[in-house]
Symmetry: C3
Subunit: 371 residues, 3 copies
């Protein structure tokens, strides 16, 4: 597997201090936490009142396509064996797409998500090859570039290819309970985040990675709250619950390299810039491009992903390859996503955007009994 080339070296050296089988079983639980996070991303996106089941359904459909196809591709074409590293690679691929669909949720029919899943796998395998085989020395143990940046820019590529402006006029109402699910998802994603960024690290880097990740995330909580309070005197829960996760996005590329203090600062910068993106960049981009990033993916994953990707350069740990990785992922993501967007354009559109009624017998079910 390409993406793991540098990580595998680590793991093999770790095998001298810890039984291989034991190390693998530890990865079982970190891997499972990543599957857990994949599902929670759906609940993070559940705030649009009329679309709450549609988000869950779309998440499951892309999981059901990306996960087995990724495994099939690597075992068939690259002689990979099915081990814990391959399973982690497959769920990383799936979670990347679950993040990416947040950009264009509601812009395509439910059944089109099966097509999206199939088309995503080669895109993702290409970016893995680009980052870890074509380039040499890219630091991204925790997926700031591979997962978050690629998700954001591939998703933006899709929406720019699709260019379906009708959705902009749809109301996106929320309800109390759906926003409470977002709080739950955000807070549990924060808890599980260390397993995501250390999933492919050798055992001896896991505890320090946990410390760095939680320090980055609590810094994001603090800075997000302070900025929202200072500028708005009110806490928009749909900005707060998202931006507090930006520390986790930004720490990914240097989780095994930064000091605790550096990690806290990376979280502070990531969370701060994510909050400002939600407040200012979001509206500007919407006006410029004429499309709407339904779940603010660019603000949480795109911008903080860039910050995280560049962090190792600022820390003096990485050089030119890291910069090429960041710029290349942005461009490749947009281009490959755009192509997929054009393909999706020819498929049938949803009759009514952002509405569970497109897929579910929602009207009857909801009419029954209020609250």
């Amino acid at each position: 597997m390409h993406f793991a080339s540098d990580t595998l070296t680590h793991l093999h050296s770790a095998a001298t201090t810890m039984n291989d089988q034991v190390a693998e079983l530890f990865q079982y639980h970190r891997a499972q936490d990543v599957f857990f996070m994949l599902m929670l991303v759906a609940f993070l996106m559940m705030f649009i009142r009329r679309y709450e089941w549609g988000v869950a359904l779309a998440t499951l459909l892309v999981f059901a396509t990306v996960f087995p196809l990724y495994i099939l591709a690597y075992t068939t074409f690259f002689d990979a064996e099915i081990n814990i590293e391959l399973l982690i690679g497959a769920v990383f691929a799936a979670i990347t797409l679950v993040i990416a669909i947040g950009v264009f949720l509601g812009h395509i029919s439910t059944i089109a998500f099966l097509v999206v899943g199939v088309l995503f796998v080669p895109s993702y395998m290409f970016i893995e090859w680009f980052l870890f085989t074509a380039l040499d020395g890219v630091l991204d143990a925790g997926g700031s570039i591979l997962v978050h940046m690629f998700a954001a820019y591939w998703g933006w590529g899709v929406i720019l290819g699709l260019r379906n402006k009708a959705v902009n006029d749809e109301p996106a109402n929320t309800s109390v309970h759906s926003v409470s699910f977002v709080w739950l998802a955000s807070m549990l994603l924060m808890v599980l985040w260390p397993s995501f960024v250390t999933a492919l690290l050798p055992p001896e880097d896991v505890i320090s990675g946990m410390a760095n990740t939680y320090l980055a995330m609590v810094a994001s909580v603090l800075v997000t709250y302070v900025i929202l309070w200072a500028l708005k005197r009110t806490i928009d829960p749909l900005v707060f619950t998202y931006a507090i996760l930006a520390g986790g996005v930004a720490i990914g590329a240097s989780v095994d390299l930064a000091t605790p203090l550096q990690s806290w600062i990376i979280g502070l910068v990531g969370g701060g810039i994510s909050t400002l993106s939600f407040l200012f960049l979001d509206g500007w981009l919407r006006k410029k491009t004429g499309v709407w990033d339904t779940m603010g993916v660019h603000n949480l994953h795109g911008v903080p992903g860039i910050i995280g990707g560049l962090a190792p350069i600022v820390l003096g740990l990485a050089g030119g390859a890291q910069a090429i990785a960041v710029v290349g992922t942005l461009v490749i993501g947009l281009v490959l996503g755009f192509i997929v967007g054009l393909i999706l354009k020819v498929m049938p559109k949803p009759t009514k955007m952002l509405d569970d009624a497109e897929a579910f017998p929602a009207v009857e079910m909801r009419a029954t009994d209020p609250a």
Copy 2:
């Protein structure tokens, strides 16, 4: 402990490659995941609007009786010591009953669940003895037969013994948030499922068991969606969120034996037949028997449990004992459940079926503040 006799052999051979204590601590986390699943089963059943707290309460009451009584029985009568295997056995017993009560939830008073818990333990210990001591060579590492089939047919035995037709006329309304809890429960159950089916496996089978389980489950997601879309053009969330778990039910008996491709196919067959059971068998059975399987337990656990139980025979890995196990569990489950149902018949009935108001000060609490 009877049920673990063949598994224990496995574990002892594992001890040669991995420290016993380390293997046991890995089981701690898989065991904990099963306790997590026990609670999530309650939320999977939470969709009936007027019964959402009642389901949680009933789950806790049967947990509070089955778990300690199972441990008490094995330590008192069979000289078992309290170790991780016994704890897993006890939570397997408890989760089996939590599944089983889904058949007759709302048909009995809340307090009767304490009686159900007490009466269930000998039933469950008998089926353990039947499967793993009386029979020789039964393959069921992940509980397709012991947990899922027995839960379904024991539960059906109870409802046939009870025969309380009044409940059929009760409306079972849903609300948006309660169905969203069902989505959450279903998606997290999917994530945790590998820990359930590998809980009693030796360390060297855990990673491949994880791969097989997730492959079976994503196949169920796919087939459930395709069938519902093809036949109905709409996705009933209360069929979808249930049937997608059937792959996990069906993979149980061969999780340590099937190849990845076979696992995917087992999930496809399990999920497909579960979906068809929800769409067609459910109504037919209801008409024939005159009783209503409140939570569709037969469709998710009964039928896919049979598929899973027979899978090792189809794969050429098991023989006559496996067939006897499947048929025997069906018959024994129905008979033992029927006896318990007759006993429950003499206890006071709930004044109003499927209503939290029977147990909770629900009217005041709900009246306060809508949404």
Copy 3:
């Protein structure tokens, strides 16, 4: 770290039977479970309809202050290195404050929680020093005294210092979905509890600690149900979901010392007395002191914490130091909390108590779409 002085001895002796690194990685997952519980405590307190997001926000703000400050203090002033024990110490500190704020939630402005976090850290470090350095031979592996008692009495100290009676007249309405979140939180806290009480135990005590904890908790479920049914004929979910956790609170101090039967009895006593505290002590205290313990912290953590702290004495395992620890924690908690309460008194008060509208754009968001 002071609190771990006796525990560390245990761990060092454990290192002879299990690789240090392996033991540390096992603690990774138990530690993560404690972070999970920290978030769930917020959802346990989410039942007040107009305050459900405010609880989550306050939880995150105290986490964002206590966690890094505790680490900063120990690494700066006590030359601690950042390892898994220090991370567990830090999340224990944070969860203690998350429990404590339940006493005075809604009595102070949201921004004041940042101040509370800063002021709490020295209080908590003092009680750690008192229990594990000043005293000798205090048994409290699972935090009955350090976490639960200190949280309750420090929180009560704060509210007595604040003395803001206005809040007593605020209505505290609930809604169905917010109470369902409480059920979810309570049931998952029960599942994760063994990781909390065994987080600092050596590997060889973890499995027996798990057995003892679950036995204590199922006993609490049973006794809470029986008492509520016997005395009230109805199950108040906001008493039931709380009191069933009292077994976990009470088992903390003797989780590594009690027999399974003793553990079950400790859970029975803890759950029973907690239930009675909710039914009778709560109202009496409110009348006597004129303040309202918003989340019933005294009933779940204070009284069962005392029971748990005294249990080792009853079991004949501890002596005078244990009694001094219990009484001292009560007094020190009240005094230190009282001082913080006086400081908070000079800060601006919330314009409207127990209302998300104080911090969130709640009115618009909730108005949009019912249910």
